[in-house]
Symmetry: C2
Subunit: 398 residues, 2 copies
């Protein structure tokens, strides 16, 4: 298939693009390289050294990969170029990773809140409007987040894949049954933008019959996939800083360099996880199993297991001898929550989950150790806070 990968230079986008090319798809990456530029502003770098996009694509071709193209377009700002690209390339599908994806970054300042909303909403809406304008039948595969459901209000119930069956009591005592988009309960401005995306999809699917698959992804861990492991120049980014580092990768990197594992709050927060290798496989499965014409938005929970953050830290401490460091929680969230998630859609499509086994954890620790001298330890603490009260607490105990 001809596939555009928007945001194909990022942490999930790059290994996804490489995997799709490896599986024989005709891939064109669209990116404005914003993730690299945010690193410049934050004065931090990927723990793993990453080559520029041109070198990445050349390396991929040199080792015999199915060639990929690249277009530098800001989809939130350069609408006309996006429309022209769709009209020229006539892709079968667009994979949409092109959003600011860090919750702490989205809560950092008014400017980063506003950038996150502006970039994510306009980017997604531009894509949908451009598809309508092109008149083409293009399947959109979007990277959403498990965070749209929220944490802490499910009281033991299983989170369904996007839609919730409810009964509405009527005055005559009967119950009206319907299936609704699962109520949104975002935990940050970033997560909120993904709940806004859901309504954009709901509308454009209803009005214009755009075929859409929305992937509610858990927290991604790991760095490389089988395909990006083939050449050092293909190496994926590894974020360890307080804004962009994801919790499990941060723990593993901290363990690698002998830094106490940062547990924010009690550690009772439960989150969903997925290894990067499974993430790229899921996107491929979603791409190859599109919704039918006229079908409602397909929603998959893209995660393989749930863990309490504190338990995860203890597991890694046990494996590596690292110490735990309990810190004030910068997030405005439930102290503790359960999280039971239905992920049957991907299992039924053939996903074989990569579980959190010791071998894979050790592999990430090894990657982190290899590049340990690139780590700026001053960038490890989370300095973004959800409210001014929490910002105060962090300042006193970073």
């Amino acid at each position: 298939m001809k596939v555009l990968v928007l945001g194909g230079d990022g942490f999930c986008g790059w290994p996804c693009a490489v995997n799709l090319a490896d599986q024989g798809h005709d891939v064109l990456i669209v990116d404005n390289l914003s993730r690299r530029k945010i690193d410049i502003d934050l004065e931090v770098e990927s723990l793993t050294p990453i080559t520029n996009i041109k070198t990445r694509l050349q390396a991929w071709e040199e080792i015999g990969g199915n060639p990929m193209q690249f277009e530098h377009i800001d989809i939130a700002r350069e609408y006309d170029r996006l429309v022209a690209l769709l009209q020229k390339e006539k892709p079968n599908a667009v994979i949409h990773f092109a959003e600011q994806r860090a919750a702490p970054y989205s809560m950092k300042t008014s400017a980063t809140k506003r950038y996150t909303v502006d970039n994510n909403v306009n980017g997604t809406h531009n894509l949908l409007a451009a598809i309508v304008e092109s008149g083409l039948d293009i399947h959109v595969v979007h990277l959403g987040t498990m965070g749209v459901y929220g944490y802490g209000s499910h009281r033991g119930a299983t989170i369904p894949e996007g839609y919730l069956k409810v009964e509405v009591p009527q005055p005559d005592g009967s119950r009206f049954k319907e299936e609704i988009l699962h109520p949104a309960n975002p935990g940050s401005v970033y997560h909120m933008t993904k709940t806004l995306d859901q309504l954009l999809f709901l509308y454009y699917n209803k009005n214009d019959q755009i075929r859409i698959t929305d992937l509610h992804q858990g927290i991604v861990w790991g760095t490389n996939t089988n395909a990006t492991n083939r050449d050092l120049r293909l190496t994926n980014r590894f974020d360890y800083d307080g804004d962009y580092g994801t919790v499990l990768n941060r723990f593993l990197m901290q363990a690698a360099i002998g830094y106490p594992l940062s547990v924010h709050g009690t550690g009772g927060q439960t989150r969903a996880f997925i290894h990067i290798q499974d993430s790229v496989r899921c996107v491929q499965l979603a791409l190859e199993n599109p919704p039918k014409q006229g079908e409602r938005v397909k929603i998959f929970n893209q995660m393989t297991e749930s863990h309490q953050i504190g338990e995860l830290a203890k597991k890694i401490a046990g494996l590596t001898g690292a110490k735990l460091n309990y810190l004030p929680n910068p997030r405005n969230e439930a102290i503790e929550n359960d999280l039971i998630v239905d992920n049957r859609c991907f299992i039924e499509l053939g996903l074989k989950p990569t579980t959190l086994d010791d071998g894979l954890l050790t592999e990430v620790v090894e990657v982190a150790r290899r590049w340990a001298d690139r780590c700026d330890q001053s960038r490890i603490p989370c300095m973004s806070a959800w409210t001014s009260t929490q910002a105060q607490a962090i300042k006193q105990n970073p």
Copy 2:
């Protein structure tokens, strides 16, 4: 109270600002005058001649009104000026009308879809981020729309005020009861932006305890209020064109000039209505009855009666002798729907609904007749279409 009225130069915003000043509040209007500029682009004008904002404010003072101020700020673009204004004025409340508010305009072209999303989402989000940044406790009163609930999927059930009580069946046969934000089912890009606003409010109320009242307003009819009737220079705008004219006002204007009433589709669509006098009264009631600190977003249905569009046309035809003209429907909507709406919140606060009586209808016809020579009949047909198929149908039978 010290009140900022964002969008206070528009069709609802202006009479609202005048009413609040008349009721003794200290009003500062913030507007970027975009509504007047869109008229320039569309090459159409309010049927009633309206004076510029400076003249409006001078006239109001000259007839003894409580003086109002004006600031020309684009809240979606000039964030820093908005923050500075909040910090300087320290308002008790902000009434937020500052959004592109016409469904047909929002569906006109890719550019108007994109403008509507960009302007409305960034405007609302900037306001919320600015309030957080200011550190002030400011009550936000927002003009939403009945259209967030959608039309045609309620099967005889009453639409509650914003929140829906549902029961979620559990695997053990029990039912988990919860009250959720009413599922969104917007009928245009414009309506969609108001469903996005709801999620912005949900989040900022949860994370930052901003006190918010969201008014889901029906279709406004009428032109002037008791206060704007006091001087010709205070006259409110009267939109009759296919993009900005609201259905009942369009019928009344068409009757006034002997133009057949444009009924789109079967006329079986039911909508909620409210007279402009009641609209300004409701905003005042919402302002004077804010949610408590820590209370969830207050949602009121701001409407007084529901009518089928076709029946309304027949009523006006009976009153004035006008003919009906059934036209293709440019909207992608149910052919027919019922609409039963709970509006007890405002009734309990003391609203005495202005019903759709013949006297008031005749008053609007008289306003329209007075300015009939200002009407450009070529601008009466609706030319915006929801899909390309509908655009074709309209071209063949405008």
